[in-house]
């Protein structure tokens, strides 16, 4: 008995060794490229950082005090939330409707799926540049088509919506593909039974599709909320530094970029990032609580 137990543990040890060998490249990558920078960022947020990473002096909570008392921090967090409030609900709803249509056995569905997924394949910077010219007040296609003279990205009241629209356009394809895979896991029997009972397509959608799809929806909402709260490239590419509406659209990551890289104040930049991480954690915890009530697992 004893001998066989020993033998098994040797085999298990051997297996464990191999397991470690297999995950080592990823672990090393994560530790060097993710964990170490994370810890270093938190450390720097308590420092007045020196040039080129030398001569950091510990200043305690001074950076946090400055960040929390600066109006622009709160303003940019609010801008980020506004962006998320456009991108997430619209990105999810439109993608869901498209997914339902493209899940039907119709001609050309795969062509449409490809078309809707295309924005995901484009480089975000290129997407932003094209939209920037579409929105241009003088020469832009939008104003030309509608014979209007709207300052889509320079009017502080409109600019945040214009930016949000680009975000929605960019994520629809990705969300849609996830929804389609979720839809394919719903057994067809439910729809057949409902049809026999006389349920219309819309009733089927709200009483079968939406509840049974809720785990997928939750996954998408959660990942997109985090994605939206860390948005940077859209504002950076579309809004010129001298744009009047910049203050009403710049996200918290944009503010971080300005301080850490343009102004070379890495410590304050790190502080802003830590604040953002805490904020995202808070939002995630709230969403996890909500999951238990809203998401239906059968």
């Amino acid at each position: 008995m004893k001998a066989s137990a020993k033998k098994r543990s040797a085999a298990a040890k051997n297996e464990a060794r191999w397991a470690w060998a297999f995950i080592a490249p990823t672990m090393l990558g994560l530790i060097i490229l993710n964990f170490y920078p994370v810890i270093n960022t938190v450390y720097q947020s308590f420092c007045k950082t020196g040039d080129f990473g030398r001569g950091n002096t510990f200043v305690g909570l001074a950076n946090y005090a400055a960040a929390f008392s600066a109006g622009e921090t709160w303003h940019s967090i609010w801008n980020t939330v506004k962006y998320a409030l456009i991108e997430v609900p619209f990105g999810v709803c439109i993608a869901l409707i498209l997914a339902v249509f493209l899940n039907k056995k119709l001609k050309g569905t795969s062509a449409f799926r490809t078309i809707f997924f295309l924005p995901m394949v484009c480089a975000p910077a290129a997407v932003a540049m094209v939209w920037k010219w579409l929105y241009n007040q003088q020469f832009g296609l939008l104003n030309n088509i509608f014979h209007s003279n709207v300052a889509w990205i320079s009017d502080p009241h409109i600019a945040w919506i214009s930016i949000g629209v680009i975000g929605v356009w960019s994520v629809i394809g990705y969300n849609m593909v996830l929804f389609i895979s979720g839809l394919q896991e719903i057994p067809g029997d439910y729809y057949e039974a409902a049809a026999i009972d006389g349920a219309t397509g819309i009733r089927q959608f709200f009483h079968i599709t939406v509840p049974l799809l809720s785990p997928t929806t939750f996954f998408i909402v959660q990942t997109r909320v985090i994605g939206a709260l860390t948005v940077f490239d859209l504002m950076f590419m579309v809004m010129d530094k001298t744009n009047v509406a910049l203050q009403n659209t710049q996200s918290i990551v944009y503010l971080f970029y300005t301080y850490a890289f343009t102004n070379g104040n890495k410590g304050y930049g790190a502080t802003l990032v830590v604040i953002l991480v805490l904020f995202i954690m808070l939002v995630t915890v709230i969403m996890q609580r909500a999951e238990k009530k809203l998401v239906f697992y059968n």
């Binding site: 990823t26 490229l33 990473g53 020469f139 001298t242 910049l246 102004n263």
Partner: protein, 435 residues
Amino acid sequence: MKRIVVFLLALTMLLTMAACGSSQDSGSAGSSSGTLTVNIWDSNQQAGLQQIADEWSKTSGITAKIEVVDWDNYWTLLEAGASGGTMPDVFWTHSNTVQLYMDNDVLLKLNDYIAADDAIDLANYYEGIVGLYTRADGNVYALPKDHDTIALLYNKAIFDQYGVAYPTADWTWEDMYEAAKAITEGSNGDVYGMAMNTSNNQDGWYNVVYDYGAQIINDTHDGTTIGSSQGKAAMEMVRKLISVGAPQSVVAETGTDSLFMSSKCAMITQGSWMINAFYTAEHHDDYYWSLLPYADVNGNGKCDSGERYSAYNGLGWAAAASTKNPDAAYSLISYFCSKEGQLEQSKLGVTMGGMKGVSEEFANAFPGMDVSAFVEAESYDLFFRPYTRKTTVWEDALQQAGGFLDPWQNPSDAALMEKACDNAQAIIENAIANE
């Protein structure tokens, strides 16, 4: 669902590994013994500079490979290199950032090399540029590569169309205002008489400020007079100009250069580093350069000393303190900055020289376009591009809301501009205090 999650996880793994791989690649791209890596940020200058570098290779036997990295990435890469990575052997420095690099000893100290080099005498170069690259303790970290000046660019076709007289060397800023007004009003706002963004500082409103006797940054680099009565008078002139020019929302979205090139704007002020872009533009036959207008502060009807300024700036050729081949790196820098290299640089139309008296050829480098205004500007007053230790901090703040963006947005309100001058005074003083 599960499959997708698995797929995403696998993708993340792959990306992580790819990231590992690529970072190792770029790390190993240092200099081997027979080659120097040279980094610059302006692709317009690459061909000409490579030609000069190849001349140097013929005598030195060492290859110099000039690589272009665009402005934003240039500083990210250089900073990463200075923080513990690999820096290029030879590279450009700029007044925005060079102070940091000099203070932290990441640049090769050139004093001993210069002392032993017959081709280089610092007295032959523009003082402002030499001063910029000399640390307070007398150490020199870069040699002047070039200098630039500012001129007025106008589109003759638009002036003809609205019957307005062309700019002359005798123009004051008031004359420019009248002409811009005539064009903007004559076209009912379809074409703008002029355009200037808050970000057109070195190539725009800074020049007006100096004409009126104020300074963005004083000679000792520890203060400003933008909030003085002279500064306010200058910015009042700027306010008048932009009140008849393109609105702020237009210049922020489209850019003054694009407006000009699409014939939507008759006049802009621009620096000599941009000549090539306009020289190769579609309607370049209509484009003419004129001397920057002056401010007739004493009202005697002619341009006196101190009434016409042009900003000038100069890049420097520097080497990394960590270069494996400092002798070769200096040798290349010395060749670029020697009389021979400087003459070649201006003859090829790359830029005007950092050395005095080598730029006459530059005016002839663009057949069919008269760029002599840039050279002529030097017979008037020049001021070096304002800088402090962390220039971008206040420079960016001046361009944005809370700085000059507010009056730019609302140029009919003179009180707003006056307030912005006071704000600017505070912005610069705070920034300097925190450096």
